[in-house]
């Protein structure tokens, strides 16, 4: 697919409606790349003008900061803010709740002030505005879907409804896990846990959460975070349920259901 970078746009004297912040998972992780492509394809389809930073994008610094390495975080933030401010970026959309949280809440006091939205919020807006047109009787009609709240979207930023509204628009049957919304259980990846082995314990957190999702009997687990997606996918594989249960990002579900 053809995706414009900010550098190319700037060269042509164009300004996109929004900067799509892809994030490291979305850029490099094979599974998360599919989410990136699905979301980019939706934007293309509805004619929403966007650009990426491409090679100029760098990690927001979230895992370093939460691990305790403030120096590294500040270095990453400094570089990113230089680039973003250099292009005069006003609005950013991102498919990663960790990037979302850092860009939205932690960059302003470092000099990076942008309107930042998560892709589930943008998808909900585009559906509400009628720009995203969904198939009658799409592939998720009447299917049981359980939404896994990402901590950095939910408790961290109080976004609980946008992803659910998108799922409802797919005519799916939304089934909640025992712990949901503000009580949602973490997938186990946050706080830089994604990048290290678990501390000693009796169970992996992603298995605990996957068991809860499987208990709903839903055929689809919807995620809104590439890290949650990885953790839940691993959990489903661990329980040998990959034939019956699929873990998908909300953007992938929308992309599959569009006319």
């Amino acid at each position: 697919m053809k995706v414009m970078t900010m550098a190319e746009m700037a060269m042509n004297g164009e300004t996109p409606e929004v900067l799509f912040w892809v994030g490291c998972a979305g850029s490099f992780d094979q599974r998360a790349q599919k989410i990136t492509k699905a979301f980019a394809s939706i934007l293309d389809k509805v004619g929403f003008s966007y650009a990426i930073l491409g090679k100029e994008e760098a990690c927001t610094g979230d895992p370093a900061r939460r691990a305790g390495n403030e120096f590294l975080f500040q270095m990453m933030a400094y570089q990113n803010i230089q680039v973003l401010n250099g292009y005069g970026i006003k609005k950013i959309v991102t498919t990663c709740p960790h990037c979302f949280n850092t860009l939205k809440n932690e960059y302003p006091e470092l000099g990076g002030n942008y309107e930042v939205i998560h892709h589930t919020t943008l998808l909900q807006q585009l559906i509400d505005e009628g720009r995203i047109k969904l198939k009658e009787g799409g592939s998720f009609k009447g299917k049981k879907i359980s939404f896994h709240d990402s901590c950095y979207l939910g408790r961290a930023n109080n976004i609980y409804e946008a992803p659910r509204k998108v799922l409802e628009a797919l005519d799916a049957e939304l089934v909640e896990m025992k712990r949901c919304r503000s009580k949602g259980l973490c997938c186990g990846a946050g706080g830089a846990q994604m990048f290290k082995e678990d501390e000693p314990g009796d169970k992996r957190i992603n298995i605990e959460r996957t068991d809860e999702a499987l208990a709903t009997g839903a055929g689809f687990i919807a995620a809104a975070c590439p890290f949650c997606n990885t953790m839940m996918t691993d959990g489903v594989k661990n329980r040998e349920k990959e034939q019956e249960v699929e873990v998908l990002d909300i953007a992938e579900m929308v992309a599959q259901s569009m006319i």
Binding site: T5, E57, A58, F71, Y78, C151, G191, G201, E208
Partner: protein, 435 residues
């Protein structure tokens, strides 16, 4: 005889209030061992939090049944204090039921209301004791409560049952004496629960009844004074500190981590040397190794914690068997403050004891297990953030001690060299678009 009672009463009150004030002063001093932080902005939002979270106990209502039971004890505690005001004045002035005559029928209504609350408190305390000791709810049997904390909780419930029983017995005997026209006991009209129980006491002589009434009166008020002085040593201190803790609660979204302007500037000076002041001194310490490096709010959090364990019950690490318990983080912080406080009392100023909050009270393994998911912060009914303490200690571990698991060191160097936590070439960042 009456004068002796009055003198004893005044002396007991004065001593207990003095002792309480002294300990309260120590707690205040301990809290301000923390770093200064201005939390006085947006007063209207803060008052709203105080009303909703502390007075309204908003977060408790995520479990309505428990919330109502807890509310009965809380309302009982606050409202019955009106009665304590009368008791104190009676004690000082040597009167009996000072408010009965001026308030008239309102007095009867009030005492009846107190009786209903007292019975309510008594019943709820029994239910709460059962939840802890018979039903053994998971969050009450966690190993972080072993020893004193578990006894502390039971002592409090038991004391409240005793205080309420004394209050009711006092009223029953009073009522029987009133019925016999005893001149020391002015007629107040019927009390509902005392009335039900008065048959038990009608066989007793006037003298015995007066003795029981006096003993209950004294034990009740002395019990309250004793309880007041027990509070500062107990988890029960939340009945006071929950209020300021709600007022000074953080107003930002939970996802935002506290910035470190010192590090921000260091990086800025490195990137743009022309902005660096010539006399820039490096920050004294990165993150928190001990309580002195935490904010005063973190320290007040620790004194506000009532060890209910909602945080730990919601913690993904704890519930999957990891060592981390957010409740224990708060308890350890308070223990450290108490130890530092004793050190200051003994030596006039803090003398290094070779210990620190990090390592001696909270281990690396606990800190490493946190997913920063904010479940503990979300759950806390009294606006405590265990997460903030965890993250400050993590900062010290990494930036002061370079103490990181091998995988994290790899992640750091990937971020520095490849701008991603994984070892991919930055040139491949937009490769997905080409496929």
């Amino acid at each position: 005889m009456q004068y002796i009672q009055q003198i004893i009463f005044v002396a007991v009150s004065a001593v207990s209030i003095w002792l309480f004030a002294r300990k309260a002063g120590e707690i205040r001093r301990n809290i301000f061992l923390g770093k200064d932080e201005n939390l006085n902005d947006y007063p209207s939002r803060r008052w709203k939090n105080l009303l909703l979270l502390a007075f309204g106990q908003k977060k408790m209502f995520s479990n309505p049944l428990v919330a109502i039971m807890h509310f009965i004890i809380y309302a009982g505690f606050i409202i019955i204090n009106l009665e304590v005001l009368e008791i104190v004045l009676d004690g000082i002035l040597g009167k009996h039921r000072l408010f009965a005559a001026p308030l008239g029928s309102l007095y009867n209504w009030l005492i009846n209301a107190f009786e209903f609350l007292a019975v309510g408190v008594l019943l709820v305390c029994i239910v709460f004791l059962c939840r802890r000791n018979i039903i053994k709810l998971k969050r009450f049997i966690g190993k972080d409560l072993n020893g004193w904390p578990r006894s502390d909780a039971n002592y409090i419930l038991f004391t409240e049952i005793v205080l309420m029983s004394l209050f009711l017995t006092m009223n029953v005997t009073d009522l029987v004496l009133q019925g016999r026209g005893n001149s020391h006991y002015p007629v107040t009209g019927q009390f509902y629960f005392s009335g039900l129980l008065s048959n038990l006491f009608t066989g007793l002589s006037d003298g015995t009844l007066v003795t029981i009434e006096r003993i209950c009166w004294w034990l009740h008020i002395v019990g309250i004074f004793a309880f007041l002085n027990y509070l500062p040593y107990s988890k029960h201190l939340h009945i006071m500190l929950a209020f300021p803790n709600a007022y000074y609660a953080r107003l930002e979204v939970q996802g935002k981590m506290k910035n470190m302007p010192s590090v921000q500037n260091e990086v800025l000076y490195a990137m743009q040397p022309e902005t660096a002041p010539t006399d820039a001194a490096p920050p004294a310490r990165f993150g928190a190794k001990d309580i002195f490096d935490l904010s005063w709010k973190n320290l007040m959090d620790a004194y506000s914690c009532t060890e209910c364990g909602r945080c730990t019950a919601a913690c993904p690490a704890n519930t999957t068997g990891k060592l981390l318990s957010p409740r224990k983080i708060m308890m350890a912080t308070r223990d450290r403050m108490e130890d530092v406080g004793k050190n200051i009392n003994a030596n006039k100023a803090f003398v290094d004891d070779g210990k620190s909050l990090l390592h001696d009270y909270i281990s690396v393994e606990e800190l490493r297990a946190c997913t920063t998911c904010n479940a503990c912060v979300e759950e806390c009914p009294v606006s405590i953030s265990p997460l903030e303490i965890i993250l400050e200690l993590r900062r010290s571990l990494i930036m002061e001690e370079s103490n990181a698991p091998q995988e994290w060191n790899g992640m750091f160097s990937n971020m520095e060299n490849n701008f991603a936590p994984w070892k991919f070439s930055p040139d491949e960042r937009d490769q997905w678009a080409a496929e």
